[in-house]
Amino acid sequence: MDILANLGHGFTVAFSFTNLLFALIGALIGTAIGVLPGIGPVATISLLLPITFGQPATTAIIMLAGIYYGAQYGGSTTAILLNLPGEISSVVTTLEGYKMARNGRAGAALATSALGSFFAGTVATVLVAGSGPLLTSVALSFGPADYFSLMLLGLIISAVLAQGSVLKSVAMVVLGVALGLVGTDVQTGQQRFTFGIPELSDGIGFVALAMGMFGIAEIILNLERPEARSVLKTKVGNLWLTREEFRRATPSVLRGTLVGSVLGILPGGGASLASFGSYMMERKISRGRNMFGQGAIEGVAGPEAANNAAAQTSFIPLLTLGIPANAVMALMVGALIIQGIQPGPRMVEAQPDLFWGLIASMWIGNVMLLVINLPMIGMWVKLLQVPYKFLYPSILVFCCIGSYSINNNVFDVYMTVLFAVFGVVCAKLKMEPAPLLIGFVLGPMMEEHLRRAMLLSRGDPMVFVQRPISATMLAIAAVALIAMLMPTLRKGKEAAMAG
């Protein structure tokens, strides 16, 4: 059993003191930002990116991953206790979870969510371990044309599944690719769109872009909204599930895990889509469907399992193909590239420590999160009492120091300011920043593959439809695009997004 041997290796990597410590730090930070509304995993990871530069790549990714799946655990706490989603992925948890809390079953809802997440996380870890090497061997037979089409497919699906107008999301992807063009042309060494600014010859700073558009712009937008934070009125109560509750929650957790695992792998998917999908499914087919609206445990168990499963399986396309499925994964690509690692199918072979260590740490992290969340729930509830007006100066200060420390240059801070303004403009015009970030990360890779493919085909663009793999990808992309532009399906998506 090759996988077992590799997993064993992964566990030795993950059990090193530093890696355990940083998995714990990641899980703690993740839970904290999950609990706190107003700051999400994308903003947090982008503002912690500069801190990870000094660490080995494996440690850095272990910590950042911990933040992402930790946020899925933490987000449910506020959703259940306060009817306030800490993360987008826990919006649907408020629907049944808060009702359960009002019925005096807050403890049961929290326990269901944590245990369901843990189960889903374990299954997803096994999935990542099993499918990783398999997909990698497929991906190694890809030519440049196939790669280009695969990335195009990833970009289009991520735009199609993004919130808001599909057309604008596709346009944002293209704008992201355009921003990725800035810098030195790899093949000729010519400076493109740098305006003679030496700092731009390496391209627009990834951290400055992400921090500005997600970190700072979010502060400004959050401050505009009046703060809605009620004081905890419900008691947590007994954490144990009754036999009846356990019997009802189990099939929902299983279904949620399945839905989440599948939706997580899809580009543009990820935790929030998964929890919506699972909620819709539970409301239609679960045995407690007629109790929905009165605190049905199925409505907590399914979505919570789904969002955690998705948070983990969304690493699959990143680790095996080098393609980020969502904005968080785009940040991971950035982190890897800064560490000098090119994400792609060769990573499993070339960086076994990173690949298997990350997988093992995911499972360890889930165990940690179970402990962090269930017995220590009172501590997180206290954290909720920190008002946003004391929180935002800290985020701002961390962004300032973080963006400066990338190159020890104030230029990056000013770039962050510019992207913050741009981020606010985009939010006002309902232009989604997430597709832009994914386009920005994939753009340079796409250009390289496009050039290589066209060189090999002697300038014949037909190569993209003649190669079967590439043609399939393009066909799927076209179908997805056309389907989403049709009114009936679009309504379905809007309904799902609205919960």
Binding site: C400, N408, G459
Partner: protein, 200 residues
């Protein structure tokens, strides 16, 4: 009318950026499809963006109404004033001393001035103070040291939230906590190469 003002602005922005991109791209050799020059991919990308932007514009005529937030007279005036003042300060800054002869310090001072002017309008004060706070940080950091830069940033950032002005004690407590935290994380643990105290 079903005009979607948000989409019209979004489409116009996309088209404008695409046109600027195409215009700048004239400097780059296109090459051929077989051997693409540095200008080939930008050409494809910006034309695509131009097309998509136009489509957004075209559909905006029918899928509204989705109006933009109304801008008051003060907001428009301060925005223009902010840009003018910012540019003037940027251009005049080198005369203020050797520190501002370095390009980014001059630009930074200009941005700071611009953002502060914009704050006069109530609707802009959030974005103005937050961005100004970041400019204060970069202006103070290299000569004033980390602590001074942090104090400046926190004070300006807190100006964005009216509640802070009434309760300066809360700001003081938070400031001391943040200074200690940043010192511990960035100096003690991560050891980033930056002066902690003012340099003379």
């Amino acid at each position: 009318m079903k005009l979607n003002a948000k989409d019209i602005a979004a489409g116009a922005l996309l088209v404008l950026l695409a046109v600027i991109g195409l215009w700048l791209n004239q400097d780059h050799a296109l090459g051929s499809a077989r051997r693409m020059g540095p200008g080939y991919m930008p050409m494809l990308v910006f034309w695509l963006q131009f097309g998509l932007g136009s489509l957004v514009l075209a559909t905006a005529l029918f899928n509204g109404p989705d109006p933009l937030q109304k801008w008051t007279g003060t907001e428009i005036t301060t925005l223009i004033a902010g840009i003018v003042v910012g540019t003037l300060v940027w251009k005049l800054a080198p005369a203020l001393g050797t520190f501002f002869e370095s390009t980014y310090n001059a630009v930074g001072l200009g941005m700071l001035a611009g953002f502060l002017v914009v704050c006069i309008a109530k609707g802009w004060s959030l974005i103005g103070f937050i961005c100004a706070a970041m400019c204060v940080f970069s202006l103070l950091l290299e000569q004033g040291g980390l602590m001074l830069a942090l104090i400046g940033t926190i004070l300006v950032a807190c100006a964005a939230e009216p509640e802070h002005r009434q309760r300066p004690l809360g700001v003081l407590g938070m400031g001391i906590f943040l200074l200690a935290l940043c010192w511990w994380v960035f100096i003690k643990q991560l050891d980033i190469r930056v002066a902690v105290w003012p340099q003379f």
